[in-house]
């Protein structure tokens, strides 16, 4: 009976229609984007001269580092602020007063940081000028907020219902000046700035990561332009950074730079020999209008437990120069660097790593025992912890770290 198969036609057609719709999306995205021709250096300059200081946007982050995904530790844990990056623990890093800053390698902190690195996240970012920022990390059924308004920085975690209020030093004038200085600084990065206060200073924003990545740009990197792309419906140039050395794990870095404003819209980091990005941070929506002023007003809801502290005038640590951000969590102890460029190895002396860290179950699952101690191997970077508690980290294979440790 021919009529029978006709009735199955919709069932056959629907998946085809959906497949077509799903495939049409990427096709549209990959269609050529017409932009004025520029050289890589011009794009770099465009990015350096980016004038965006008002935006609301959603940032999608995903990291596929080859780590086992950690059980959801619950967005409630206070230490998960670490996943907001140095920005969240801003006062801490800048002032060196908080417990987290004194011992950034507290097992719980590391665990949560790794938890962050292994799962996808959605972050909403609001900027209005230099002194007003809001970052919302959208967790499942919860949210972590950072609200910076002038000299006040609030953090709020809806899962624990805890808030901290940090009062920054000086009359509100100081920071905006610094911000403006940074924003218009063609050198892109002023290491003396409190990173937390720079626009988009959170590791989550493509801008911050892009700034980090091009900061150490030198002849060891081959700079080129990929095909123009579209990010968050905006035409963008795609800068490609390819390490010339083969000693690093990093194969390629791309930075999509908004053609209109120079704002970095998306950053991907691909491991050597891989096709898909290990780290992908990019705007999914972006609006360059000023967010409503109420966005930056924050009063902790009733019932919230609030911690208040005041940060004295900043004493800044120069940051270890490296192509990546990851190893920088342990900024407080004395840190040495060996090697150069992409293959740089960060070394922290014995005693840096508390002995309880390697014993923490979640961390222990990630670490593998190696002849020189315990190692954490990911697609993009490797960490080696010696039995004595010294720490070696870098975007290099484990063998390079072992070599460095042995050389000590």
């Amino acid at each position: 009976m021919t009529r029978q198969w006709i009735r199955w036609m919709p069932a056959a057609a629907m998946p085809a229609v959906i497949a077509a719709a799903v495939l049409a999306g990427p096709l549209q995205a990959s269609s050529t984007v017409d932009l004025p021709h520029r050289t890589p250096q011009q794009v770099l300059a465009l990015m350096a001269g980016n004038t965006v200081h008002q935006l609301s946007g959603t940032v999608q982050e995903s990291a596929r580092l080859g780590l086992p995904q950690l059980p959801d530790l619950g967005p409630g844990s206070p230490g998960q602020r670490a996943s907001l990056g140095p920005g969240a623990s801003s006062g801490a890093t800048a002032g060196g007063t908080s417990a987290a800053a004194r011992n950034p390698l507290k097992a719980a902190t590391i665990t949560r940081l790794l938890g962050f690195l292994t799962g996808p996240h959605t972050v909403r970012v609001y900027l209005d000028g230099a002194g007003r920022q809001r970052v919302q990390v959208l967790d499942k059924l919860a949210e972590r907020d950072l609200i910076h308004n002038g000299t006040t920085v609030w953090t709020y975690n809806s899962a624990t219902n805890k808030a901290t209020e940090t009062t920054l030093p000086g009359p509100g004038m100081r920071n905006p000046r610094l911000h403006n200085a940074k924003m218009h600084n063609p050198k892109l990065h002023n290491p003396k700035l409190p990173r937390a206060l720079a626009p988009g200073a959170f590791e989550q924003t493509p801008s911050a990561l892009a700034a980090e990545l091009v900061k150490g740009l030198d002849p060891t990197t081959q700079l080129s332009l990929g095909p123009n792309t579209k990010v968050a419906k905006r035409g963008a140039y795609e800068l490609q950074l390819i390490p010339r050395t083969t000693k690093t794990l990093i194969g390629k870095v791309t930075i999509a730079v908004d053609a209109a404003t120079g704002l970095p819209l998306r950053v991907t980091v691909t491991a050597r020999g891989q096709d898909s990005a290990a780290v992908d941070i990019g705007f999914s929506t972006l609006d360059l209008a000023a967010p409503p002023a109420s966005t930056f007003m924050f009063t902790p809801p009733p019932g919230t437990s609030v911690t208040r502290r005041t940060v004295p005038a900043p004493k800044l640590h120069p940051h270890a120069v490296g192509p990546r951000a990851h190893a920088r969590t342990h900024a407080a102890p004395k840190v040495d660097t060996s090697g150069t460029g992409w293959a740089a190895i960060t070394e922290a002396p014995a005693g840096t790593v508390p002995s309880d860290l390697t014993a923490a179950p979640a961390v222990a699952r990630l670490l593998q025992p190696v002849p020189g101690g315990h190692a954490l191997s990911t697609a993009l970077f490797t960490v080696l912890i010696t039995p004595g508690g010294a720490l070696y980290a870098g975007a290099v294979p484990l063998a390079a770290l072992e070599q460095a440790a042995a050389a000590r």
Partner: protein
């Protein structure tokens, strides 16, 4: 619910596409057939017969007859559903969830320290969190359970009772019956969500203080805005259930044993959530109908994050289309032997 007001009055609109190639033809053909044979048997009917009442045989009958009425059928479907004790038992069970939560929190005063389901620790500060806590509990488990029962029962239940053959001989039309069954299930989804919402709001406001409600972002909104957000969340949960309802409808076409279809649907709902929790299958996650179920929290942020609502709606629509088409393919070609 009068047939005259039905928008699908242009005959054949609800009928199986394959069944009646020219949409309007069959009904005029009915009229023809009747008129043609009128001098024969039909004219001889005594007027006292039930069917000889003003059933449209007199003048004007063909046009009246050419109208396919589906609203009365849908109304009948809903009345059958809501005249079942089982339906009310399930709605009562769903309504009991927020009430139990509210009472338990009230009696024990528990809910500090972030233990238990999300929002539980907020209830003592604001009664409206009862609804949200209940939805966190109901969305992954109780709501899919009841929707699985209702959607799995749609056709398998009729087949099990034997009424399916009489509906089809009526003739209900297979596509039309499928549509009415699906809409009926969707109405149940809405009723089930509303039961949780209403019971939660009432229990929360009765047992706990109300007042400005803190959103996930920490911003406070007044009670009416919060209630509006809760209604939005209800809409989100309702939409979330539509995909499962379509899956259940399809499973229901596969068997004449309603319990089997119900169980299979519920098991699928649970399996989808288990798969969603396995990181090794992250490529699959965006395709699972349960993937966005708990994304309703995005409506409680300030400002409202609509992305998950949109993603969820598109995903559920996809499930409805695919499984609706599968259910049609199966049901329209099926031999009804029950």
């Amino acid at each position: 619910m009068s047939g005259e007001s039905s928008p699908e009055g242009h005959g054949g609109g609800w009928n199986a596409p394959g069944e009646e190639p020219p949409a309007a033809a069959p009904y005029s053909a009915v009229a023809h057939g009747r008129e043609g044979s009128a001098p024969g048997p039909v004219a001889g009917l005594p007027s006292g017969r039930p069917g000889a009442l003003p059933d449209g045989r007199p003048a004007g009958a063909p046009t009246a007859r050419a109208r396919a009425r589906t609203w009365p059928f849908l109304a009948s479907e809903l009345s059958v559903m809501f005249r079942r004790r089982r339906t009310w038992a399930m709605l009562a069970a769903l309504a009991a969830v927020p009430v139990l939560i509210a009472v338990a929190v009230r009696v024990t005063g528990a809910g500090s320290g972030g233990e238990g389901p999300a929002f539980l620790d907020r209830i003592t500060h604001n009664g409206l969190f009862v609804v949200l806590t209940a939805l966190v509990l109901c969305t992954p488990l109780f709501l899919p359970l009841t929707v699985g029962v209702v959607s799995g029962d749609t056709l398998a239940g009729e087949a099990g009772l034997g009424t399916l053959r009489y509906l089809l001989a009526a003739p209900a039309g297979r596509a039309r019956l499928l549509l009415v069954k699906y809409v009926g299930t969707a109405v149940f989804c809405a009723a089930a969500t509303s039961a949780v919402l209403l019971a939660g709001t009432v229990a929360g406001l009765a047992l706990f203080p109300s007042g400005p409600v803190p959103l996930l972002s920490g911003d406070l909104v007044d009670v009416w805005t919060a209630e509006g957000r809760i209604v939005l969340v209800g809409a989100y949960v309702f939409v979330s259930l539509l995909g499962l309802a379509a899956v259940g409808l399809f499973i229901s076409t596969l068997t004449d044993v309603p319990v089997g279809a119900m169980a299979a649907t519920v098991v699928l709902a649970i399996a989808a959530q288990v798969l969603d929790a396995l990181p090794q299958l992250d490529w699959l996650h965006p395709w699972l109908f349960s993937h966005w179920w708990l994304g309703f929290a995005d409506l409680l942020r300030q400002p409202v994050e609509w992305t998950s609502f949109g993603n969820n709606a598109v995903l559920q629509l996809g499930y409805v289309l695919v499984f609706g088409a599968l259910a049609y393919g199966r049901f329209a070609t099926k031999d009804v032997l029950s």
